[in-house]
């Protein structure tokens, strides 16, 4: 096997080709990576040269984003599961107009869709896991841990899509702070994580450690 050719880029994980909606930067990254194909002196790793176009793009990214949706401060008491379910569904109702607006402005693009469950159905499933951590999986051919992860991602994507209805550049940190710090759904995922970590099922423990709350958001745990 022959060695690879690599281009090291300064962008955060998840954006190997640079910021969104900055085609000139993305093209520059792509052409610099592809140009390495014409070199044979392997193995190769080069640094992406930060052009002035990159710095201008980063300056524009630093414009502030504020959530367009005014949600009530979420409670930390999740023990009353009936109230929890009701309050979560109220949160979804508040988000629905923004979700629809986001889909219209992105010409029909949806971020959720890993399952066919609606946000309300996902809430019922996650709350049922809180009530009984030994429930069986609700997605065919998927163990319970993976099923929880899939529906949690779909619920989070619904929230994220709603939050992005306001057309502004937004960072994952800001969106994460909003979701895990200011929404009941974020609190719900933190609770799901805690239950998985404490479960006797080792695969649920592993999924709890890594799949529900990013490391940068553990400050809300």
């Amino acid at each position: 096997m022959r060695p690879p050719r690599a281009l090291f880029v300064p962008f955060e994980l998840g954006r190997p080709f640079g910021p969104p909606n900055k085609p000139e930067i993305q093209r520059q990254v792509l052409i610099e990576a592809l140009t390495l194909l014409e070199r044979r002196d392997g193995p190769i790793i080069e640094d992406f040269v930060t052009h002035s176009i990159y710095h201008k793009g980063i300056e524009e990214e630093n414009e502030g984003w504020t959530c367009p949706i005014n949600l009530a401060k979420p409670t930390n008491d999740l023990t009353d599961t009936q109230k929890l379910s009701f309050d979560l569904k109220q949160e979804v109702i508040l988000l629905q107009p923004w979700y629809k607006r986001s889909i219209e402005s992105s010409k029909g693009r949806r971020l959720d869709g890993l399952t066919t469950y609606s946000p309300e159905e996902i809430i019922d499933l996650l709350v049922s896991f809180i009530e009984n951590p030994d429930i069986i999986s609700f997605i065919p051919n998927q163990p319970i841990g993976r099923a929880l992860k899939i529906i949690s991602d779909d619920l989070k994507n619904f929230y994220f899509q709603s939050a992005m209805a306001k057309p502004k550049n937004i960072s994952d940190v800001k969106l994460g702070n909003w979701f895990y710090g200011d929404t009941l759904a974020g609190k719900l995922l933190i609770e799901i994580r805690a239950i998985c970590l404490a479960h006797s099922n080792e695969s649920l423990q592993l999924i709890g450690r890594t799949n529900f709350v990013p490391n940068a958001m553990l400050k809300y745990v």
């Binding site: 096997m1 022959r2 060695p3 690879p4 050719r5 090291f8 880029v9 300064p10 955060e12 994980l13 998840g14 954006r15 190997p16 080709f17 640079g18 910021p19 969104p20 909606n21 085609p23 993305q26 093209r27 792509l30 052409i31 990576a33 592809l34 140009t35 194909l37 014409e38 070199r39 044979r40 002196d41 392997g42 193995p43 190769i44 992105s106 010409k107 029909g108 693009r109 949806r110 971020l111 959720d112 869709g113 890993l114 993976r146 992860k149 899939i150 994220f160 899509q161 992005m164 550049n169 937004i170 960072s171 994952d172 969106l175 890594t210 799949n211 529900f212 709350v213 990013p214 940068a216």
Partner: protein, 153 residues
């Protein structure tokens, strides 16, 4: 990306201590000039069409992404929560720059865009991916692809 010097020691050791091939000064594969190459993109972002099976953790597998599909119909079932997804939410080209690749073809910088691109899910043990990677390499060669951008997230 992050420099090793910026990583916590445990994370740094986990990456550096991996059992990786030692290429020494082996030259890279030779090929035609870039303007004559057929290029495909392979991402590790766990992307797929909505009606594809979602990725299964620990399993070596990939999904096929036609170059002419509406990439707005792609969704992500990657297991990791620890990389930014807001870029992907706003512009898929941050992970899968098919629009940019086609622009480079129009500009004559590359010879041709491959009919298909591919997605793995990166959070999978490398050895679990070996068999399907070899399989995909043969598929790419049969398609006449002679240049690949492997885009990790």
């Amino acid at each position: 990306m992050v420099y090793f010097s910026e990583m916590p020691e445990k994370q740094r050791s986990m990456i550096v201590d991996q059992d990786l091939p030692d290429y020494k000064n082996t030259p890279c594969v030779e090929g035609p000039s870039l303007s004559k190459r057929k290029i495909s993109i392979i991402t590790t972002a766990g992307l797929h069409k909505k009606d594809d099976e979602i990725f299964t953790p620990g399993v070596g597998e990939y999904r096929i992404i036609p170059d002419d599909m509406n990439i707005k119909d792609l969704i992500m079932s990657h297991v990791s929560t620890n990389f930014d997804r807001t870029g992907f939410f706003q512009d898929l080209n941050v992970m899968l720059p098919v629009d940019r690749l086609n622009e480079l073809q129009v500009a004559g910088k590359i010879g041709e865009v491959a009919k298909y691109h591919y997605s793995f899910m990166g959070a999978t043990p490398p050895m679990a991916q070996e068999a399907v990677s070899k399989d995909l390499a043969e598929v790419l060669k049969a398609d006449g692809v002679n240049g690949v951008v492997l885009a990790g997230v």
